[in-house]
Amino acid sequence: MSIDIETAARVAKLARIRVEDDALPALAQEFSNILGFIEQLNEVDVEDVEPMVSVEPMRLKRRQDGVTDGGMQDKVLSNAPDAREGFFAVPKVVE
């Protein structure tokens, strides 16, 4: 399958990665190569095969729905590029 420049641009947008216009043709070509490789999967008969959910069948454990941790606002914020007054700071999101 061949990926056009428009699709490459759409995928970059969905992935929230800025790709400059002049880099799009090469990116589209790379996508095409990778998807061409992946397309071998179409040779496999997957009729009535269940898609894998969990590689080792295990019953998920249950736990008490209680507070076990918390009260460490300073630690939570310690790696933030911009934190103010106990909050993460970001550019304005609401006009």
Binding site: I3, T7, A8, V11, A12, L14, A15, R16, I17, R18, V19, L27, E30, F31, N33, I34, L35, F37, I38, E39, Q40, L41, N42, E43, V44, V46, V49, E50, P51, M52, V53, S54, V55, E56, M58, L60, K61, R63, M72, K75, V76, S78, N79, A80, P81, D82, F88, V90, P91, K92, V93
Partner: protein, 494 residues
């Protein structure tokens, strides 16, 4: 005692307990070796203060008679593990400056057992790569060279720094992680041992996530015994990882008897690839003969969906990565791009991720985004998950026929040159052709060095075991190791 850094874990453990050496002496010997080995690019964040402090504590513990196997043993830690107060970047620029406020479960367990951390080890960015060339720190270099040729070779990837450090005797052993072969391929390229346990054996909590249904941690060591000792300390149930198995962890070392009489070893015919070098073919048949001589029954088997493992992996792993890496948004930790006047939150995300992620990571995140997008989800992602079911069933069928372990080559070649132009990303992906099936099926797999190629570079064989039977697998690997008698070491040029 000379050459302390060349000791294996088992030898150092015994020497520490006898009082022949202290952990501080061992640790200082490793720190000195590390400082002389910057040319290898293996250690990217050195932690000498932490190391000496931990070594002193370990020495006190040993004196008091409370010494678990790893007490006082100096280790290197892959940069993918979050280590409290110490940079943990997954070799990515997007995590520049990140110092976790917490410790991963695996490293916590190692430190509780008294292990010493010498520093953080180089790797491919977010563990995406097979040559350590996608790292933001620059390349890690293989201590092995082709005879007198000084061409820089890759230590493999993604755990390239771990492999290089262990092979060069900068540490006694190291942690690695393996999503498609990232422990076993670098171990094979550097003449060391590396095991990926069954999915769920080691807690993934605090290990930077790449593809959550495939990622597992494991040890990279100088021999099989050390792998058994270190793996035991890394394993165990963790309530903080819902996929970690609540199973007892056996004493793996006690299971190393070397007796494999009557065990059935499968040789999968689909692993005989077109264009496979003769040397790999020879290595494989030698391994087959060694196990047979040790009393194992050899059985030709078929794993008929093998060919589809890599394409399935390159749907599933990028899909999971695109989801896992969505968290790198420039808000909570790591890099945030400088914004222009009028830039809003979307520009912040897009610029941050374009600046912070390297090209291979960007490519995989976008491929993952594509295969999960509306209209393609069924055609790619669901189909790949169905193929994954079939790949696992291939293994279940041969295990049901009485096969105890499967012998394959670990890699399709020996270590290759760094810096070659990689025009087609798919070419690099082929490195994992023998290892990736094991991750898709959640099985334990171990790479054992068994020979040298004509250029003097190490080659390894892989053994694949039944789920949760790492002890039995390690014992088969131990028998192979004894038969192969691999003792070669790289000569020091760094």
């Amino acid at each position: 005692m000379t050459d302390l850094t060349k000791l294996k874990i088992s030898e150092a453990r015994d020497a520490l307990r006898k009082g022949d050496v202290t952990s501080v002496e061992l640790t200082e010997a490793c720190l000195a070796a590390i400082d002389k080995a910057d040319a290898l690019g293996a250690f990217v964040h050195k932690t000498p203060e932490v190391a000496v402090q931990q070594a002193k504590t370990a020495d006190d513990r040993i004196k008091s008679g409370d010494a678990p196997d790893l007490c006082g043993i100096p280790l290197g830690i892959k940069d993918l593990f979050c280590t409290k107060g110490v940079p943990s970047q997954a070799a990515s620029a997007i995590l520049n400056g990140f110092k976790p406020e917490y410790e991963s479960t695996v490293t916590s367990q190692l430190f509780d057992a008294g292990a010493v951390m010498l520093g953080k080890l180089n790797m491919d960015e977010f563990a995406m790569g097979s040559s350590n060339e996608t790292s933001t720190y620059g390349n890690a270099i293989n201590p092995w060279r082709r005879g007198n040729d000084d061409t820089a070779l890759t230590p493999g990837g993604s755990s390239g720094g771990s492999a290089s450090a262990v092979a060069a005797d900068l540490c006694l052993a190291a942690t690695g992680t393996d999503t498609g072969g990232s422990i076993r391929q670098p171990a094979a390229f550097t003449g060391i041992t590396g095991i990926k346990p069954t999915y769920g054996r080691c807690s993934r909590w605090g290990i930077v996530a790449f593809a959550s249904s495939l990622d597992q941690a494991g040890p990279m060591t100088k021999d099989v015994r050390d792998a058994a000792i270190m793996l035991e300390a890394m394993c165990g149930h963790d309530p903080k990882d819902s996929t970690s198995a609540d199973l007892a962890v056996p004493n793996f070392e006690a299971m190393l008897t070397g007796d494999i009489k009557g065990k059935t070893i499968g040789i999968p015919r689909e692993y005989r690839m077109d264009g496979m070098p003769d040397e790999i073919e020879t290595l494989w048949s030698e391994g087959r003969r060694m196990l047979e001589d040790a009393g194992a029954v050899i059985k030709d088997i078929s794993l008929k969906h093998t060919k589809y493992a890599l394409p399935a992996y390159y749907v599933i792993a990028p899909a999971e990565a695109s989801s896992n890496l969505a968290r790198y948004d420039g808000v909570r930790y790591g890099h945030r791009a400088k914004l222009a006047q009028g830039d809003g939150i979307t520009e912040m995300y897009e610029k941050t991720r374009a600046e912070g992620f390297g090209s291979e990571v960007q490519r995989r995140v976008m491929v993952g985004t594509y295969v999960l997008s509306a209209g393609f989800y069924d055609a790619y992602y669901n189909r790949a998950r169905k193929v994954r079911t079939l790949i696992k069933k291939d293994f279940e069928d041969v295990f049901a026929q009485g096969v105890d372990a499967i012998l394959t080559p670990a890699t399709p070649s020996s270590a290759f040159e760094l810096g070659k132009e990689h025009t087609d990303p798919v070419e690099m992906y082929l490195n994992d052709v023998f290892t990736v099936t094991v991750n898709l099926a959640g099985l334990p797999g171990i790479s054992v060095p068994t020979g040298l190629d004509s250029q003097g570079l190490p080659l390894g064989l892989q053994l694949i075991g039944r789920p949760w039977e790492e002890g039995d697998l390690l014992n088969t690997a131990y028998a192979l190791e004894q038969a192969a008698g691999f003792v070669a070491k790289p000569s020091q040029w760094w």
